[in-house]
Symmetry: C2
């Protein structure tokens, strides 16, 4: 097993960082890795907002409802960006109606995720820790307003990076037999039975977000999470449409 | 610069592979890397279809409209999977209405992309080559039917893996000054001017898909691509709704 894969198998979310900035040289390398990430059709339809302003960090922290967001040495927001390509085509006199398609949105969304994960692997290979903030989507409109995101852009995921100040336990994951299927989807007769061992394993795991208690079994977590929706998250398509994308439904 | 980052900066799409299977041991390692990929809320809401059947490979090849899809030694399809968690919660007697939210869809979509890119980096670190097939979305319904994808699942991206049988040139990418912004989105006065050098650089690049001619400038490519939409791609949300997701718009 090589160092790259060793790093990947050792991945864990880091939520507390040393009070130490990432050297600019290293940050540039990470951005070069983002730049070289695979991109749908070569269109490079994602961009990155680097959040340095403390007030803006505080807004993101509020949206995420996670206090430690403020304290991440580097905070990035990966966004769908069809605005740039639309402008390029427009300046060339091209027809840009189709830049508004949801197809384009998903291409940008995919690009943003691939770039983000490329950065995560690179960062971890350098001994840095990372934390994804999917919770920026608790209120996408506020993120859009805070960072002046123009039409045909949309926030995908936040990413915090820094030198780790904690050593969390490796989080248990369900067996791949539940997630990898040959030539067609496999439906199980009894899911609770299939995840029985995993359910037990999870209850042995301590989440550092609340280090004093063990976490619920996986199945109990799922029940709780599905029971507590966040309204603005449910209505994500409305905000996507407000950003100029044509839902075509 | 370490080996991981060297591999990432050297990324290129491989479309022709040696006629040689990936050892099962290595495939397992790649799946372990997928398993350990970051996942939104710990919910692990993506799955993978491993396509071994040649007839099914031929279908994917047709959907993608790319003949070489058939010849990839390993062909994977990463999918949104909220079906599994919905079933788990249901068996526990939980309320599963919110499993249908688009928010859940996007969590699964993000998970699928992060897992896929994790696999790509791992594969390349082992000397394997990879190719993404975003074009499985040319006809998502046909992919759904071919692989019996149940409700609350959806195909995200295809991935081919194998030992490279070609050495493509590194593809030029636009400068990060166009894609990385501090504390807010930056709109350029003149995009064609901003990408002038990049446009020139692209015309010097040979794409091995058609090795006899240089490619268009980036701006010309954008104009062409935006001009030629694929209807079923534009209407992706209809298929997502057919899979049981509640668009809530």
């Amino acid at each position: 097993m090589n160092e790259t894969i060793k790093t990947q198998l050792n991945h864990r979310t880091i939520r507390e960082f040393k009070d130490e900035r990432i050297p600019e040289e290293i940050f540039k390398t990470l951005m070069e890795v983002a730049r070289r990430a695979p991109t749908s059709n070569g269109m490079q339809s994602c961009s990155i907002i680097r959040v340095k302003d403390n007030d803006k960090k505080a807004v993101v922290s509020e949206v995420c409802n996670q206090e430690y967001v403020k304290r991440t040495p580097e905070l990035l927001i990966f966004i769908v960006d069809q605005f740039r390509n639309m402008m390029i085509a427009k300046e060339k006199g091209g027809n840009v109606d189709n830049a508004r398609d949801m197809d384009r949105f998903f291409q940008g969304f995919t690009d943003a995720c691939l770039a983000a994960q490329n950065v995560v692997v690179a960062a971890e290979s350098l001994g840095l820790g990372t934390v994804y903030f999917g919770s920026i989507l608790n209120d996408p409109q506020r993120i859009i307003d805070t960072f002046d995101l123009p039409e045909l852009t949309f926030p995908v995921v936040g990413l915090g990076i820094g030198y780790p100040n904690q050593e969390p336990q490796l989080k248990p994951r369900m067996d791949m037999s539940l997630r990898l299927f040959e030539d067609g989807y496999k439906i199980f007769d009894n899911y609770l039975k299939a995840i029985e061992d995993y359910d037990k394993e999870m209850t042995q795991y301590y989440d550092l977000r609340d280090a004093n208690k063990r976490v619920d079994s996986f199945s109990d977590q799922i029940v709780t999470k599905l029971y507590n929706p966040i309204i603005k998250r449910q209505e994500i398509l409305k905000t996507i449409r407000n950003q100029g994308f044509d839902l075509k439904i």
